[in-house]
Symmetry: C2
Subunit: 445 residues, 2 copies
């Protein structure tokens, strides 16, 4: 569906007012994270592609309009909605780049009604993708180059969230996903072995392993903890020796003391001459547990992570907002306590030692300052198709390398605070005075 109803009611209320009053002035809304979750030293910008797809097809269908009539919108408003499309401009931080609090992830400039109608989905999609991709990035840091596989499908908040987890984890460098539909859509490597139920469906564990190796000679990783992990490893070794499967071989440990069991399993496999067999660990692992196993040099070749990744369990939401910063050429802000916003269309630059937040038309603050936001949509049409995920991953890896350790560490990360340019600071002072005047005003003009 083209998505006109995919919004909060208040967007429709406001848009109806703007359209009715002919308020078609150009508005710029800035979408950014007000404050970082305290467990995050950085975020990875993500979700832009789905936002742009939404904007390109945004409209109301007949059935949507009939519903709006039923819930009380007047005929004139419904006629205005019938014509609504997104015709505006979008600047955005490319997906995969690291962003910090207050730095716009995207900015929309459009006639105010249009820009307002799309708020809810833009916030929803940037929040979904940025939250899950940023969590996945922490696993990448924890794994120090060992393989990671996304197992989040069953525990994510819906099929759509599972898709975002698969995409976001690939974006930051996961090797594969278990999610077949997402792998298909995004051309990701897909990975999976067997469940405990498969073992239970056979007369005994060894018979189950034998059947699996016969049926899937190219992906023979055995789940070994259905009854007893080390007996399971023994059975796996026997079946591998018996059938000698030509493809990847390995065992998956899904419960118990993974450090100890991985060492025992490695010893048993090596002793059997199966040095090429991989050890796979899973079972509700968060990034700290992965980091601990890696630090202890447990012989785990790959980690399968699901539950904690799929909902970003330690920081399941981000404080993303969509604030009007300019309207009809006039900078705008909000004064609410602890929620004040800064006025004007913005640019953020990444410098060699700091980020700088300023106004879009300012010159870069230095010769080595790279702008983060770039134009991605004009007149409602995207300027380029979405880049491949590999390109996004390259951006992430480059930004991560340049990120201060204090922001990238997993425990008690420090937040990066962008410096403000003099021009933005000055505009904020002026706009604050103006807003105070408006707040005091009795409306008599």
């Amino acid at each position: 569906m083209p998505g006109g109803l995919r919004t909060d009611l208040y967007e429709l209320n406001m848009a109806a007012s703007y359209l009715r009053r002919g308020m078609d002035g150009s508005a710029t809304f800035s979408l950014y994270v007000r404050d970082m979750p305290k467990q995050r030293g950085f975020l990875v910008a993500a979700g832009l592609d789905d936002c742009l797809r939404f904007l390109e097809t945004f409209s109301f269908e007949e059935d949507d309009l009939a519903y709006l009539r039923r819930i009380g919108f007047e005929q004139r408003a419904v006629e205005d909605f019938a014509k609504a499309r997104f015709t505006g401009e979008v600047w955005a931080v490319p997906e995969g780049r690291i962003v910090h609090a207050k730095e716009p992830i995207l900015e929309v400039t459009a006639p105010i009604a249009e820009a307002q109608l799309v708020e809810t989905v833009l916030l929803n999609q940037v929040t979904l993708h940025t939250t899950l991709t940023s969590k996945a990035a922490r696993y990448i840091i924890a794994a120090e180059g060992r393989d990671l596989v996304d197992f989040a499908f069953r525990r994510a908040h819906g099929v759509e969230a599972a898709r975002a987890a698969a995409r976001g984890s690939a974006l930051v460098g996961f090797r594969a996903t278990s999610n077949v539909e997402a792998a298909h859509e995004f051309r990701l490597a897909v990975s999976g072995t067997m469940a405990h139920s498969f073992i239970s469906a056979f007369e005994d564990e060894r018979e189950a392993f034998r059947a699996f190796a016969e049926d899937h000679p190219n992906r023979t990783t055995f789940l070994v903890d259905t009854y007893d992990t080390l007996t399971g490893v023994r059975n796996a070794i026997d079946v591998i020796e018996e059938l000698d499967p030509p493809g990847e071989i390995g065992v998956r440990l899904d419960s118990g003391d993974l450090d100890r069991l991985s060492r025992e399993a490695r010893r048993m496999l090596d002793h059997a001459g199966l040095g090429r067999a991989k050890i796979f660990a899973s079972g509700g692992l968060d990034e700290h547990e992965v980091a601990e196993l890696v630090r202890a040099d447990a012989p785990v070749d790959a980690f399968g992570v699901g539950t904690q990744l799929g909902v970003s369990a330690d920081a399941p939401y981000i404080d993303a907002v969509y604030k009007l910063v300019e309207f009809g050429g006039r900078p705008v802000l909000k004064l609410s306590p602890a929620k004040a916003s800064a006025p004007g269309r913005k640019q953020a630059w990444r410098g060699p030692s700091e980020d700088v937040l300023g106004l879009r038309d300012e010159a870069a603050p230095g010769p080595n300052h790279e702008p983060l936001l770039e134009p991605v949509m004009r007149a409602g049409r995207r300027l380029a198709p979405a880049p491949p995920i590999e390109e996004m991953r390259g951006r992430f890896e480059r930004d991560l390398k340049a990120l201060p350790i204090k922001a990238s560490r997993l425990n008690h990360p420090e937040h990066v605070v962008a410096h403000t340019t003099a021009a933005l600071a000055e505009l904020t002072v002026e706009a604050t005075e103006e807003a105070r005047r408006q707040g005091r005003s009795n409306g008599g003009r």
Copy 2:
């Protein structure tokens, strides 16, 4: 899309083996929550309707099959998948009923390949809906009869999750949602006022209020904290007095000390003779903050809740599993440490003073014990359409009333542990011995 690829790869691997080997024995999988999140004294079963819709239409399309060929499934497996439908039986706890750890939320009985292929989506959907609906239930307890409105759309993990938040919150008794699309689909009351941007788009606050009241005379709730909350209330009163809108009137407080501000606002409104004006509070409220405002008797008529509700922030996942409990007439279990499952098709009964977990064919443990699971699908067809949300709400309200206080309280709830019948306990002992034998077995038979 009919959803064949909507699954983890391992389901396809296992199903391919079962189909290849002619293993078409009937399998029962039990979907339940292994352990409760410690912040939850109960869960509200939800998501069944979406599960049944998925099962009714489950199949692979041509494009899906081509993809499976590309990723290495042999022709024979692809042909088997092409014919796959869900032809099984489902027993389930009706949506809206309260459930506890270990009590099956649903049980699927089908030829093992079919039952396996649908695992991922069933877990994903039950997890999504049960997690968010259970969180919403806590707000209902906190609000003690005051109105609640779902504002979660922008912060939920995707459009699908936002839909689940709207549906789940309505199910437990929220008065309305801001989510227009979900309101349309589920026939919910829809609610919304204005954003700060609307105020900023006018010359001053009072002019914005005046415009809104003129354009929306039937829903005139003013957001008053854009500049200064109490000045905002003053402006709202002036505009109400000036224009005398005929419909609902009110103010929304979205920041600051809501207790103090609501009392001041109430005093100002009453003083102006606007006793009928409602006070609406919002701004990242969790259920504890709502409970505190209610306990303090702050004059808030309705709470708008979003962020914390939309991701179930304090308990964003549940430990839902889908375990093979019977195959080919034989009870089955898994022994993995801390993850052991209980064998056999089950029933759970709600008694006057306790829940009882037993086998499906047992007689009820007492005359006042009501079975929780009922048949909802046979031969792949649902037995009845989904009931209206109101009916689900009735179930929830009845179960909540009968729930021990220690389980329903918001802080440090105690978990309810279902008693096990003698028959289930006995079967568990037998099946455990059998599983130990299988685990020890060298596969020589």
